[in-house]
């Protein structure tokens, strides 16, 4: 079972993601901000992070840079309310992007794509 860390400052969104992704068979953990996310990353292993770009009083992109620096194999999908993330080069470090929508179909597809890519990268054949 793949483990996903959801980082979003909106509690309702965390709840929605938890509920929906659990239905898809993922084990979901949530964090309301960057520090909490870093704390949980230290304690547990995750297969994927869903990260909101605009966190309360902090930037999701700063957290993205820390994650890439410290856990460069951990894939990150950026979730955003609008597509201005394209203006910031640091957003290019992410493995996937999803514009927030009440229809989570696109998000679920992106999660599957990124996890498949990760498992392919970690397979013995790929390592050779």
């Amino acid at each position: 079972m793949s483990r996903i860390l959801v980082v979003d400052d909106e509690s309702s969104i965390r709840l929605l993601y938890s509920h929906e992704l659990a239905d898809e068979g993922y084990e979901v953990t949530t964090a309301a901000g960057a520090e909490e996310a870093v704390e949980k990353l230290r304690k547990d292993d995750f297969d994927l992070i869903l990260l909101d770009i605009k966190l309360k009083n902090e930037s999701g992109l700063d957290l993205l840079q820390r994650i890439v620096k410290e856990r460069h194999n951990l894939p990150v999908i950026l979730c955003t309310a609008f597509s201005c993330y394209k203006d910031d080069f640091s957003a290019w470090l992410a493995d996937g992007y999803v514009v927030k929508s009440s229809d989570l179909k696109e998000l679920k597809q992106e999660i599957r794509r990124v996890l498949d890519k990760k498992s392919l990268r970690n397979s013995p054949k790929h390592r050779v």
């Binding site: 309702s12 609008f82 229809d103």
Partner: protein, 544 residues
């Protein structure tokens, strides 16, 4: 001896002296004047002298010597008077041309008309033809510009007959030429003018040589003169011509070629010297006309540039407003999308698990449908806003402040406010949207100027403070105290134009987005300090 001539009588009659004409009747009563004017050249007087000599009278030979000497001196005097008269006329003529060239003419064609008319008119130097060659702007080529005169005998007679009928002054002749004949003469001599064109570095050309040697050259036998290019001789088709260089103190303006193509009248060194005097005012007038033309052209370009600049400034203002509008739209949309996603998302979740026959299913379907519709509308609006979103890049804050300073300075100076910059050298580049940051700083400066009275001081400083770059804007506006230190909510602003208020509010939104902090410190009655703190990130330094 009884004299044959009447030279011994005080008064005479017309019968006694047949050499006195009806308009010289005063000579009848004055021996002294008659003796000088008539007797010394009178054959009767000469006969009296000869007779006296034959008679052995000694005074006869003395008188002969004195009379010969007198006549010689008189002849010299007459020549000198004639020379002085012609010089006087020449000086008057040059004075007339000089006054005409220097006082009223500003257009090049008018100057050329006067110059060539002066050379060819009978009231001027009376040459048959004159060609004017002008140096181009780059001083690389002497180009045939204008010519005056007849090309055939028939035309010459027609011209001179016309001149004979009219009694124009030089000024009138030049004006008549300019108004009625200028373009026709250009066309008439087009072929010759084309062939006269010569590069200014052509050392073999006698025209270039006259310019280099800074003196006129007189050619008497063009077809056999080694200095003259045979092509030039054939083009002009005359044996004798005069080359007059047009020079100002340090510029080669052009050359005038003058000849007597029709009359073949010899050109003398005297003619050359007279016309040389004319070339100085002509050269200066041509140079002045060229400068005037250039000034006009520069003024026109400046006017066009100024108009474009104004259009660009208006465009920038419009773009700035559009970008701000886009930013506000994006911000609002962002605030709406999250709750919309939550409502729609949970509705979908509930809908998936609800019984097919549950009456609430329709309600949930409605929520999902409406949420979806709102999301689509929002995406459309955001797509539009994205196109107006800020363009982030690395910029030099000093350059930005300097450019804004340039835009605001003239207004500050006009209002008696001392506006100074104090920029720290070698500041690292900062990531920002240039247009928006410039807009905000400009708005703050204008806000300060609005609140200041002369003699006020407005200072913009940049400096490094730890990991940050500070932009400090300090004014000496004596604003009344206000509690929250928020310049954008001051009551004074409420009196202002609503658009301006909105713009200042946008500034705060923009600055808060880019800056680490944006603070306003007020010193009651003494001024205000606006402090923009921009982050200087380590990774940005590596890029430099």
């Amino acid at each position: 001896m009884e004299p044959e001539c009447c030279w011994t009588k005080e008064t005479v009659t017309a019968a006694e002296c047949p050499f006195i004409s009806p308009d010289e009747t005063d000579l009848f009563g004055s021996l002294r004047r008659r003796l000088v004017a008539k007797c010394l050249e009178c054959p009767r007087f000469a006969a009296d002298l000869e007779r006296m000599a034959r008679e052995g009278r000694p005074e006869a030979s003395v008188m002969r010597i004195l009379i010969d000497e007198f006549l010689l001196q008189k002849s010299r005097l007459d020549t000198m008077i004639g020379f002085l008269d012609s010089r006087n006329m020449e000086i008057q003529f040059l004075h007339e041309i000089g006054a005409l060239l220097q006082t009223s003419l500003l257009e090049l064609d008018e100057v050329l008309s006067v110059a060539l008319t002066a050379i060819t008119a009978g009231k001027g130097f009376g040459m048959n033809r004159a060609f004017l060659l002008l140096a181009d702007k780059e001083r690389r080529t002497l180009k045939g510009s204008l010519a005056v005169g007849p090309r055939t005998y028939e035309e010459a007679w027609a011209i001179w007959e016309e001149i004979g009928r009219t009694d124009f002054s030089l000024k009138e002749m030049a004006k008549h030429f300019h108004d009625t004949k200028l373009s026709a003469e250009k066309d008439k001599f087009h072929d010759i003018l084309e062939r006269l064109t010569v590069p200014m570095d052509d050392q073999r050309s006698i025209l270039v040589r006259a310019l280099q040697e800074r003196r006129p050259l007189l050619v008497h036998d063009a077809f056999h003169d080694s200095r003259v290019d045979p092509e030039l001789a054939h083009t002009l088709d005359v044996d004798s011509f005069l080359i007059l260089p047009l020079l100002t103190r340090n510029r080669r303006v052009g050359v005038i070629i003058a000849d007597n193509f029709i009359t073949k009248k010899p050109i003398t060194h005297e003619d050359m010297r007279s016309m040389e005097t004319l070339t100085f005012p002509v050269a200066f007038a041509i140079e002045r006309a060229s400068l005037y033309d250039r000034l006009h052209e520069d003024l026109r370009k400046l006017t066009v540039a100024n108009t474009r600049l104004q259009e660009q400034q208006e465009l920038i203002v419009r773009l700035e407003k559009m970008a701000l509008l886009g930013k506000v739209t994006s911000s609002i949309a962002h605030s709406i999308r999250n709750p919309l996603m939550i409502i729609g998302g949970f509705a979908r979740s509930l809908l998936r698990n609800i019984d097919e026959n549950d009456p609430k299913k329709e309600f949930l379907e409605t929520i999902v449908r409406e949420a979806r519709q709102l999301e689509d509308t929002l995406s459309e609006a955001l797509g539009h806003a994205d196109s107006m979103a800020p363009v982030l890049d690395q910029w030099d804050i000093n350059e930005l402040v300097g450019n804004v300073f340039g835009e605001v300075r003239s207004r500050a100076e006009g209002e008696g406010i001392a506006f100074t910059l104090d920029l720290a050298p070698d500041l690292p580049m900062i990531r920002m949207d240039y247009r928006q940051m410039a807009y905000c700083i400009k708005k703050i400066l204008f806000n300060s100027l609005d609140a200041m009275l002369p003699p006020g001081e407005l200072t913009v400083t940049t400096r490094i403070d730890g990991d940050d770059i500070l932009v400090e804007i300090r004014d000496t506006a004596a604003r009344p105290a206000r509690g929250d230190g928020d310049m954008f909510s001051h009551p004074a602003l409420e009196k202002r134009d609503e658009t301006e208020n909105l713009e200042l509010s946008f500034c705060r939104v923009i600055l808060e987005n880019y800056c680490k902090s944006f603070t306003v410190e007020e010193y009651e009655g003494k001024g205000t300090l606006y402090l923009i703190r921009l982050p200087r990130k380590k990774e940005e330094e590596h890029h430099e």
